[in-house]
Amino acid sequence: MTITFYAAICLGLVIFVIGCVRRTLQYARMPIHLRWEVYPVPHEEQSRVAHGGSYFEESDWWTKPRHSSLVGELRVMIPEILFLKGLWEFNRRLWLPSFLFHFGLYLLIGTAVLVAIGGGLPLLVPSIASGSLWIALAALYKITGYAGAILSVLGALLLLLRRATSQELKNYTKPADFFNLIFFIVAFAAVAVGYVLRPTGSAGIGDVARGLFHFDTNVAVDWLFGTGLVLASALVAYIPFTHMAHFIAKYFTYHFVRWDDQPNVRGSSIEARVAQYLTYRPTWSAAHVGADGKRTWVDIATTNPAQEVRK
């Protein structure tokens, strides 16, 4: 039975990583699109970020050095990722449930990392397993684990309530949306309740991690706690294949769409890549486009359909 739990955890993680890599590559390999930024763009000079300005505010901007500040981007990204600043600003009603849910998830991810360190580090430094660092680590992951489970389950319950009762979400709520939230609630609740109610002598989360790293099949996992672990692993594997993988999408929507103000410079890689795209042969059917699958975008752009008609 213990092997089943270990397999579920490993499988869940492997599928998650594969799913995320696949999704990331899918977006990363797409052609660079035409510019479509929305201001404010936070890597601009601080004096401009305040009012949302761009380098276009300067005369002869192409002769001036370009400013791109990572610190400026981090100033927006960190409050957005940690505290969902966008929702706080633009959709305050949704902020509390969403913040509870997401912050709870961050704490649970932190817990998983701490547990993995606790389970894996003694393989490298055996003496650490009984030292004060180990005790502190165990205390810390218990706090983050409980807090994370409570916050995320509470947040998910509130989100579920909103989905079920809000008229404005009716057109946009699919069966999977309910399933996803219930999946989170059941999986995290099962892990947390199973952990609390496990019989004396049965394994806790730290024991499972240690057992996994040592491949110790003698670790006794209680059924409820074990079921929670299997469900949580399945949830982790499921996420990259849903719209919940928006942590990947957000990287692209922010850095490659909303904030992408990179100008096209002669001899640049942008120029070279676009030159290649312009050799694509579109097949749009409308007469004025003049695409027949043989003509390239360059051919089309250099044809005048109005003159053709006149002839």
Partner: protein
Amino acid sequence: MNRYTDLRDMSRANREPLAHLENEDLMPLPVPLESPAKDHTWAPLSQAAKDKYECGLDDTCAITIPQPKTPEEEKQLVAKFLSGLEKLFTKENNWTFLQPLLLTMEHCTGCQTCAEACHIFEASGGNELYRPTFRSEVLRRLYFKFVNGGGLLSAWQHGDIQLNWPLVARLAELSYRCNLCRRCAQTCPIGCDNGLVGHELRKLFSQEMGINSKECHDSGSMLQLKVGSSTGMSAEVVKDNIAFIDEDISEKTGIEVHTPWDVEGADVLLIHNAGEIMAWPENPGAFALILQQAGVSWTLSSEACGYDSINYGLWYDDSQFARVALKHAQIAQKLKVKKIVLGECGHAHKALSVIADRLLGGDLNVPRESSLTLLRDIVMSDKIKFDPSRNNFPVTLHDPCNVVRLMGVVEPQREIVRKLCPQFREMEPHGVDNYCCGGGSGFAIMSGNNFQDWRFHVSGRKKLQQILDAFADCIGPETNKYLCAPCSNCKGQFRDMLAYYDLWEQNRILYGGLVELIVNATVDVKPGFIDWEWH
């Protein structure tokens, strides 16, 4: 009013509109339009239009799609739509916007944060049909069902939808109920973009099915490619008109103005929206005077398309967009100018400076810049002397979305009005958080059937509220007030909307451009350049 429309109603077989608005349903306006009774009654859609075109969406009809005559024809149109839908998600056909479109299709959580930001949704009184996610959700379901594999699991995960001709026809109309201002995109926590969805839908309909707004296509980009300008002006006519404007401005200001044409090697190729030359001649006249007085080396081009910065393809068609952008760049290259400067036209700013940027490689990559920065530099220098007391009347500034939120040119125009207009007051919100004038994405030039009623009552309503609020302390007819809109399309919308509500006659709210304010404050010019007459 029933504010709710179920997504499934889009496929409803009859041609009954899905939504109907009355004045009482709309977002309230401030004084002097505070009561719905003071508002105009909507002109109903004519029976002839209802009998001839697909008008099953709401109270109006923007793009006049002829009703198919047989079920067979309907089937063919649906098949064509499906073929276009597939093309929209291939790199060969849509490399230009594939990545952001796919991200928007696959990651919207349906949180509705965007709805709070949309001026059309708010002005309609929260009508579901105008929720920014409504049309996106239709496209999203079509994408997952017909492009991404479909099946029961997909329907469970992404929702199902019934594809038929009524849905296609309604979706085409619905793509013209969004100003593409992208205020919603600015607020989306994920970075999804409902404005982009509207843009891509318009492209699908135009590029695959030849369905588009007649004003943007037939008498817009096609006319521009045919004669050189969407106004229909040939080079000879435009030169005649500019000569007349030079003469008129010289007489009015006391300064001899001469517009240079086709000057090879000039520093600046200025391209106006040619609509200015026809509708607001004082604008190109004021530009000529300012550039001449500041000693700028500049020229206009008399080559076809070179005297009209309009690029309506930006709103509905990549092929038309690329053709016009390419012509602008080729003309600048041929004239060997140092840079192209775009006059007071918002969509032309974004089209040539931002969207065309990656299309223009090698020698065609002629630098492009906003006239607002050039004007700011002139006004802040000592080249021209100003007397701000000549502009001592209430002035507010409209931010064209394409210049501000979508290009980041926010402060130059403000520096000018702060210096030259003692009674300048901001609208709230402003800058990158502004609201669209309601004429964006082609609406300002679209007036078929009763579409104007919709754009005044719904798409322009939020901006109207902002304007009235900005002048609330002086709304009476005893004070002349100036709404500064440095964009031709925005001015077109304001001209029509202020006239519709009689706000010049009753409340003395005049609209105009930025250069007019600059010339009006120029010491060397005869006082009274702004003549406070409706035009």
